[in-house]
């Protein structure tokens, strides 16, 4: 029989099944926690760090990712404090500076309140969220792609650089990739870097309640589970 626990999320008491992650619990109840590397039904690796929340233990708030945190009875979570919003904005800023050419990343940056980017733009094609790697491994048991290299050298590649014979050409890796949706205005050219402002109409609405899910379109690009 399914067991339930009660957690305190931003003051609201949520009754959630034991074993779920705090992020899933929040999304289920319509609390908006921006996320990128999380894919429903896949294991969470805590790579993008966008879904950070404050976990209050003995009066001390500890910043941790909600996707890797399992619910426990009586757990106290603060999902959208000023501090969390600021940290999220900084992380989203790092991401969007890396890949301003992705619609999904632009949307995430908009959702996290990034207005200006303080770093020079790069036109990276991959933000190493690892969605493709995990879906290939966990859903199809193919392991046709994986991470290669460390640090700055890290990239997604197939074994020995050749198409793996285990690849079923199912294209799921493409479907979950946040970079494959055509951006509104195409890749940025050097000297023409700007942050897309087309989502501003949405932002007006969202800014009034950053912690609630409005079923906005901003999650489309990375298949937000509420979308």
């Amino acid at each position: 029989m399914l067991q339930y626990v009660t957690i305190n999320m931003d003051g609201a008491l949520l009754r959630v099944a034991k074993g779920t992650s705090v992020l899933d619990a929040a999304l289920e109840y319509g609390v908006c926690i921006p996320h990128l590397c999380h894919v429903p039904n896949l294991s969470d690796m805590g790579a993008c760090r966008l879904c950070i929340v404050e976990h209050v233990v003995n009066g001390k708030a500890k910043v941790t990712t909600s996707c890797t945190l399992r619910v426990q009875e009586g757990m106290v979570i603060k999902s959208n404090t000023d501090k969390i919003q600021r940290l999220r904005r900084n992380i989203a800023e790092l991401l969007v500076a890396e890949a301003p050419n992705s619609r999904a990343i632009q949307d995430i940056a908009a959702r996290c309140g990034v207005k200006t980017v303080r770093y020079p733009f790069r036109n990276e094609k991959c933000v190493l969220c690892g969605r493709c790697v995990r879906v290939c491994k966990e859903m199809f048991a193919a392991n046709a792609i994986g991470f290669v290299g460390r640090g700055k050298e890290r990239r997604v590649a197939s074994p020995f650089g050749k198409l793996s014979e285990f690849c079923k050409r199912c294209n799921t890796c493409l479907e979950v990739c946040p970079m494959t949706i055509t951006p509104c205005a195409g890749p940025m050219k050097p000297g023409e870097e700007y942050l897309c402002n087309k989502c501003e109409s949405q932002l007006m609405e969202i800014a009034s309640a950053p912690d609630q899910c409005f079923f906005c379109d901003l999650g489309e690009g990375f298949q937000c589970s509420r979308h």
């Binding site: 805590g46 790579a47 760090r49 890797t68 190493l128 640090g151 700055k152 890290r154």
Partner: protein, 617 residues
């Protein structure tokens, strides 16, 4: 050899060993640590062995190659007993003379003695050398008494007695209480109370538990763990056995990096010897406790020193950290409760059990007990391994033990704790070597690396160096660490090249906070420390780079210029010949000058000039 059936058999064996050794007239101890091996220690040992054999003294004189003695600057080192005569900078050619004069006749060879740089006097005995005198060598002093490849040496000085006592007389819970009472804190960097860690693992549900020794030391300039493991592997093993007994583990791992070949070799030999004597295996010393140790070699990734990455590597997967919302004492190696401690932490355990928690607690400061091994490197006279009681002021370590700056320039800062630590300025040298005090000052004790930097060091350059190191060593899994370090390096590089902007400094601080709060593992959380601490104490240097476009220390190449002071130039031509870019022109008896367009600012001429005529501006 037969296995020891019980504690009494071990004690009997030790007595027998001591009785056999009574006939030995003298001992020649030579440091065979990695530091001394680079300065020909192996050849010295071979020469001495040959010389002793030639004279037929092998039975009377005990030749003992040991692990590191600590004074690496002076290597190869040797101590001749009786008399504790201390020789340094020995060459293989000295072997015959040493045996002839010192070993046989008991005379002292003045030439090989250590000269005190302050008084200029020759010092006979190791105990009188200032470098050793100001230390409190609890762990390192054993290195000198033990041949790491011979378990008998370790047993002879009372080794494994603590294990025997623990197994015979104590319950696991009381072992944990004793360690907790001693106030021992993790020596790997975190400073987490060891007793608490053990208790949490002991209380964690599960039959199968593990203990791991973390010997994946990777901080630039740190080699404490290496020397302990190389010099006294049985001490670490004994600590692990006691820990395993306390938490209820029956399997242990030593995760040692493959770049430490000597440590791997020694710890392997130690495990084999301990197995032979029944100190590892089933029913150790007649108790119900069974334990074995496996050696795992790391590939040299810095991040594999992080507990979860190390465990991932041990499991055979990619060495990447994972979220630690559930601690490794509950969910560790193969999802079993696991205690992971650093080499030095394990090495402290036998003496705590042997001499008692009160003995250990008597040393140290309020929050940090016992002694700590530090690796002194950089612009300091006496580089080497230093062991001091916790709470000793940095000044004592740097000046009394370290002997002060190695060059004519004053010490400007000391970098403690490796890439996770920070730089402390000279004004903070009265701070004690204490986990909490250094943490509050924006640095940390860390694993004990201390890189000393004098006035000729640019702090922006130092920050850049550590960021560069961390960028290479970050696993790249999480965004704040991978991109945060990358962007920080980009900004600091811009500053060092004169492209810095005033808004860069608050941006660095903002980014540093984000990284420290949101990164996945300890590496990312502390990666900003070198930048933060230099910004905190040397902000004026950053500002000089940004606002005046100057590098006060004359290090950052883009911001400096080399000029020849014509009044000092003697036209000797040394710089002219040395310049690889032919950027220096001049004729005989005429002051030379540097052609700015051709100058690559390598600084070779500056180092070459004997008349101080080449100036950096």
């Amino acid at each position: 050899m037969t296995k020891f059936a019980n504690a009494a058999a071990l004690e009997g064996f030790r007595r027998e060993l001591l009785r056999q050794r009574d006939s030995i007239k003298g001992t020649v101890t030579i440091c065979g640590g990695t530091g001394c091996q680079t300065s020909q220690a192996k050849k010295v040992i071979d020469a001495l062995r040959a010389e002793l054999a030639r004279r037929g003294l092998t039975k009377e004189i005990h030749l003992r190659p040991t692990g590191c003695h600590g004074f690496c600057e002076q290597g190869p080192l040797m101590v001749v007993e009786p008399g504790k005569v201390f020789y340094c900078h020995i060459t293989p050619d000295d072997a015959a003379e040493i045996v002839e004069k010192t070993v046989i006749k008991g005379e002292v060879i003045q030439r090989l003695l250590y000269t005190d740089p302050v008084s200029g006097k020759k010092i006979h005995s190791e105990d009188d050398i200032p470098f050793y005198r100001a230390q409190d060598r609890q762990l390192l002093s054993q290195n000198r008494q033990v041949n790491p490849l011979d378990i008998n040496d370790y047993i002879a000085i009372g080794g494994y007695a603590s294990l025997a006592k623990t197994l015979a007389k104590m319950k696991p819970k009381s072992v944990i209480d004793e360690v907790a009472a001693s106030g021992l804190r993790g020596r790997g960097g975190g400073g987490f109370p060891t007793g608490r860690k053990w208790l949490e693992c002991h209380d964690a549900p599960g039959e199968e538990k593990y203990v791991i020794c973390n010997a994946d030391e990777g901080d630039p300039g740190a080699y404490m763990d290496r020397c302990v493991l190389e010099g006294n592997p049985h001490l670490v093993l004994e600590g692990m056995m006691i820990g395993a007994f306390a938490v209820g583990a029956s399997q242990g791992y030593v995760y040692v990096r493959n770049e430490y070949p000597l440590a791997v070799e020694h710890v392997r030999a130690a495990v084999d010897q301990a197995r032979e004597l029944g100190l590892l295996g089933e029913k150790i010393l007649g108790s119900r406790f069974s334990f074995d140790v496996e050696i795992a070699r790391g590939g040299g990734a810095f991040v594999c020193g992080e507990s979860t990455a190390l465990m991932a590597s041990l499991e055979g997967t990619v060495g990447e950290p994972r979220a630690k919302d559930v601690h490794t004492v509950v969910d560790g190696l193969w999802h079993k409760p696991t205690v992971l401690n650093n080499v030095e932490t394990w090495a402290n355990v036998p003496s705590i059990m042997g001499k008692g928690a009160a003995w250990f607690k008597a040393k140290g400061s309020k929050g940090s007990k016992g002694t700590k091994i530090l690796a002194l490197t950089g612009h300091i006279k006496n580089t080497g391994l230093v062991e001091v009681a916790m709470g000793t002021p940095l000044r004592t370590v740097l000046y009394d033990i370290g002997g002060g700056p190695s060059r004519s320039k004053d010490i400007k800062a000391v970098q403690t704790g490796g890439p996770s630590g920070g730089c402390l300025p000279a004004s903070k040298f009265d701070l004690p070597v204490d986990f909490d005090a250094l943490y509050d000052a924006g640095s940390m004790v860390g694993s004990g690396g201390m890189v000393v930097m004098d006035q000729g060091t640019c702090m922006v350059d130092v920050a850049k160096y550590f960021l560069d190191f961390l960028q290479d060593e970050s696993c790249g899994k999480c965004v704040p660490c991978r991109l945060g370090i990358d962007r920080m390096l980009e900004i600091v590089t811009a500053i060092s090249e004169g492209r810095g902007k005033p808004e860069h400094l608050p941006l660095l601080e903002d980014l540093a906070e984000t990284m420290s709060l949101t990164a996945l593992c300890g590496l990312g959380k502390t990666a900003a420390n070198p930048v933060l601490s230099t910004l905190r104490y040397f902000r004026d240097e950053y500002e000089a780079h940004i606002k005046q476009g100057q590098c006060p220390a004359g290090v950052c190449q883009a911001l400096i210029e080399y000029n020849i002071d014509e009044s000092k130039c003697t036209a000797c031509g040394a710089c002219l010949r040395a310049c690889p870019y032919h950027a220096i022109q001049g004729k005989k008896k005429e002051p030379h000058h540097i052609v700015a367009a051709q100058c690559q600012k390598c600084g070779i001429c500056h180092a070459e000039c004997k008349f101080d005529a080449i100036q950096v501006a």
